[in-house]
């Protein structure tokens, strides 16, 4: 396993795009959050969730991590590298586990940096937007339980999204179709939810990976969320595990 891990780490480390995509994910996430924080202007009372607002960038930044995760396996299929890899590591589940572990590690690092940047941006700019103690909003701080939970949960969310991308890509094996499928899976249910009526809308938000997973970011008005925070992250984890299991089974059954 450690050989497989080292091999995967070497492959990822020595491709220029890995560094660019990881940097891009962090910059995009923090950038969008900062832009939203700067553009926010609150005039009246309650109803805003400072922590959730600070973490808006994850909505867009997750795509970059998903793309990176997809590429770690589909590029091997695209170039034929997968055959060399499987010759070196014939136990395919070990290979997938090594890829997942490497990807999770990278996503964890990128996630910690991105979430820290987002919270800092929220701390710096949201008070000027009207979300300050004078209007009854506490400053964004991870010393508060819900904010800490949202921050940690958002990091886990990014890791799970990356692994979901890996699982889907292992199943599909083609770069373009995998990216289309992952982004469709993430972004289409929320739009579909706008279009359908209530019992179905509510269930859709509960089972869709992105809307369920992002429930972890809410710190106020938890009742309006489709799910409880950790339950929501659990739904996303179920998607991730299912995609990895399906990808693993197909990886074992199919010829490369």
């Amino acid at each position: 396993m450690s050989d497989a891990l080292r091999a995967e780490w070497t492959k990822l480390r020595t491709v220029a795009s890995t560094g660019w995509l990881l940097t891009g994910a962090v910059v995009l996430t923090v950038g969008v959050s900062a832009a939203v924080a700067a553009a926010t202007h609150v005039t009246s009372g309650q109803g805003q969730d400072s922590t959730k607002l600070s973490l808006t960038g994850i909505y867009l930044g997750q795509t970059v991590l998903a793309v990176l995760a997809v590429l770690t396996i589909t590029e091997e299929y695209g170039t034929g590298m997968i055959r060399s890899t499987l010759t070196a590591i014939p136990r395919r589940i070990v290979l997938l586990a090594a890829k997942a572990a490497t990807m999770a590690g990278l996503a964890l690092v990128a996630g910690v940096l991105a979430v820290a940047g987002c919270l800092l941006a929220g701390r710096l700019w949201l008070p000027a937007a009207g979300l300050n103690p004078a209007h009854g909003y506490a400053l964004v701080s991870i010393s508060q339980g819900p904010t800490l939970r949202a921050a940690l949960g958002s990091v886990f969310y990014l890791v799970l999204i990356a692994l979901l991308g890996l699982g889907v890509a292992t199943t599909i094996r083609d770069t373009a179709i995998s990216i289309g499928a992952v982004l469709g899976l993430l972004y289409l249910p929320p739009i579909l939810a706008q279009a359908v009526a209530d019992p179905m809308r509510h269930h859709l938000l509960q089972v869709a990976p992105m809307t369920a997973g992002l429930a972890i970011q809410a710190t106020t008005d938890l009742g309006s969320q489709p799910l409880a925070p950790w339950a929501g992250l659990g739904v996303l984890a179920a998607w991730t595990v299912a995609s990895l299991v399906l990808g693993g089974v197909l990886l074992r059954l199919r010829d490369a």
Binding site: T63, I179, G180, L183, Y187, L188, I191, P199
Partner: protein
């Protein structure tokens, strides 16, 4: 001895554009995955249109949700169906509710009246409680109307012409719900009354206004073809829902005092008769009070609520149109089309086929052009077939489920269908150009989705000016082709995206998207010529 040089035979030319198109088309149709991709796009587009429209139910519930059910569950005692919406002379949805005091009039005539006061009341009840005259505050709607109206029939939606004083919009000449022309500015008071005059000559109706009853100015004129000899003429008052304080609208009522009422010429009836047009729970337009009319001598006092104008959407009617039905299916179809269009070029780079292509056709710009034509045609056809099925299917399901679908003329429906197919085609060309710039499928698909699909998704969650600019400046502007709701200058209404109104007109929106595609194609042509393949 002379030698005739051998004549050079002219073979078929191989550098034409048609063979290039044929070779690109062959490449496209022989990759099974791409053809399947088109089918998937079309099937998903129709399937998601089915899903979203089939789950939309409209109805009114009189009871609370059953005990134990969530707060968002439907109530009890529900009936499906939407309230009655009148249809205007052009087949469009209209509001036609007002207090009328009229008499039949045969032949050509001139009707004159003076408006000496126009005041109003605004409901103070929350939007979900039936408005009542007991809960009001003084407040005159900007488009409260009081004036003279001629119509062949008091049936809602019938043709009419009217000259009127309004709350703050001055004197107006309006006819057939859409046409509006301004006369004297300013509001009405006892110190500054407004004289109104409407003349009928055959089918021609003309509106005049005056401040003193002596010096008259013509505001506008119109022909109402087929106007019968006997029409209803009289005084009317109405006052529309205002949207200043809330997005769901607040009903208002206006009261006007008329005097100096006269009818010259024609054969008038003997008595004035008050009629409240379009009131009651079966009418879609919210009204305040039931309308009333009093007469003492030559002075008429009318109170009315409602509007005589184009019907507008949310808060009153919902926003379902032949265009809105398509929205979700189109986004899903676009997502698949982005993948196919990106692969159409990046696969050549991945397999090295691009070098063979460029060897066969050294003019690289033409290769890109041929590819763009093929993908545009394929995307246009796929989009066109999808919407040709999806629009009638969606409309049928919505009508079946009791929802109100705004009537659209055949021209509008064709415009929506052609526009949607063009939206898919232009997006496909733009993504092809992106793929040619980036040369990697991962980048092309991710960038294609991020640039051409995500702005819509992000934009639909924003509010206010950010949303307006997003739908003007980003590729999401192209979704304006789905806009089909009527927009009327003489109806004060929040014409926002949430209410189904795009900030740009359909073709302007498509042009914004086209500009993005053109820039991408220009950069791609430049790069494909400069770089080694």
């Amino acid at each position: 001895m002379t030698v005739t040089p051998p004549r050079l035979t002219k073979g078929p030319r191989h550098d034409g554009f048609t063979p290039l198109l044929r070779s690109e088309w062959t490449k496209f149709r022989t990759v099974r995955g791409w053809v399947i991709g088109l089918l998937v796009a079309a099937v998903l587009c129709v399937a998601f249109t089915f899903l979203t429209t089939n789950d939309t139910h409209e109805g009114t519930c009189t009871g609370p949700p059953p005990t134990g059910a969530g707060p968002n569950s439907p109530g009890t005692g529900c009936t499906t169906g939407h309230p009655f919406v009148p249809t205007g002379p052009g087949g469009e949805a209209v509001a036609d509710s007002y207090q009328f005091v009229a008499q039949p009039l045969t032949g050509d005539a001139t009707i004159t009246a003076r408006v000496t006061s126009l005041t109003g009341l605004t409901s103070t009840r929350p939007a979900n409680v039936a408005p009542s005259l007991a809960n009001t505050r003084p407040g005159l709607a900007a488009w409260a109307k009081a004036g003279i109206l001629v119509t062949p029939s008091t049936r809602q939606g019938s043709t009419y012409a009217a000259v009127m004083a309004t709350g703050t919009e001055g004197v107006r000449w309006q006819y057939d719900y859409n046409d509006d022309r301004a006369g004297l500015p300013g509001s009405v008071s006892a110190a500054s009354p407004r004289w109104l005059r409407l003349t009928r000559t055959g089918d021609t109706l003309t509106g005049y206004d005056s401040t003193d009853g002596a010096k008259w100015t013509e505001i506008g004129t119109t022909q109402l073809t087929g106007l019968p000899a006997t029409v209803s003429v009289g005084l009317f008052v109405t006052s529309p829902v205002t949207f200043q304080d809330s997005n769901s609208g607040t009903p208002t009522q206006a009261t006007a005092t008329f005097d100096q009422v006269s009818i010259d010429g024609g054969v008038a009836g003997r008595a004035w008769r008050g009629q409240a047009i379009g009131y009651g729970s079966q009418s879609f337009y919210p009204t305040l009070g039931t309308g009333s009319y009093q007469r003492s001598g030559a002075t008429f006092t009318l109170s009315g609520s409602g509007d005589i104008a184009s019907g507008v959407g949310a808060g009153l009617l919902g926003t379902d149109t032949a265009g809105s039905i398509l929205l979700f299916g189109l986004i899903v179809g676009l997502l698949v089309m982005v993948v196919v269009a990106a692969l159409f070029i990046t696969a050549e780079y991945r397999r090295g086929l691009i070098r063979t292509t460029f060897t066969a056709t050294p003019n690289r710009g033409r290769v890109l052009a041929a590819k763009a034509v093929v993908i545009a045609a394929v995307a246009f056809l796929t989009g066109g077939v999808s919407v040709l099925i999806a629009v009638p299917l969606g409309e049928h399901l919505l009508n079946h489920n009791g929802s109100y679908v705004f009537p659209a003329s055949p021209v509008t429906v064709v415009r929506i269908m052609v526009g949607s197919a063009a939206l898919v085609a232009i997006t496909a060309v733009a993504v092809l150009a992106l793929g040619s710039i980036l040369r990697k499928s991962a980048g092309a698909v991710a960038a294609g989705i991020a640039v051409f699909v995500l702005p819509y998704i992000i934009g639909s969650t924003l509010t206010g000016s950010a949303e307006q600019w997003l739908f003007r400046l980003t590729p999401a502007a192209g979704f304006a082709v789905l806009g089909a709701l009527p927009r009327a200058a003489q109806v004060s209404y929040p014409y926002t995206l949430a209410n189904g109104y795009y900030p740009l007109s359909p073709w302007a929106g498509l042009a914004v998207l086209g500009a993005y595609a053109a820039v991408a194609l220009g950069v791609a042509t430049f790069l494909v010529r400069r770089r080694d393949a």
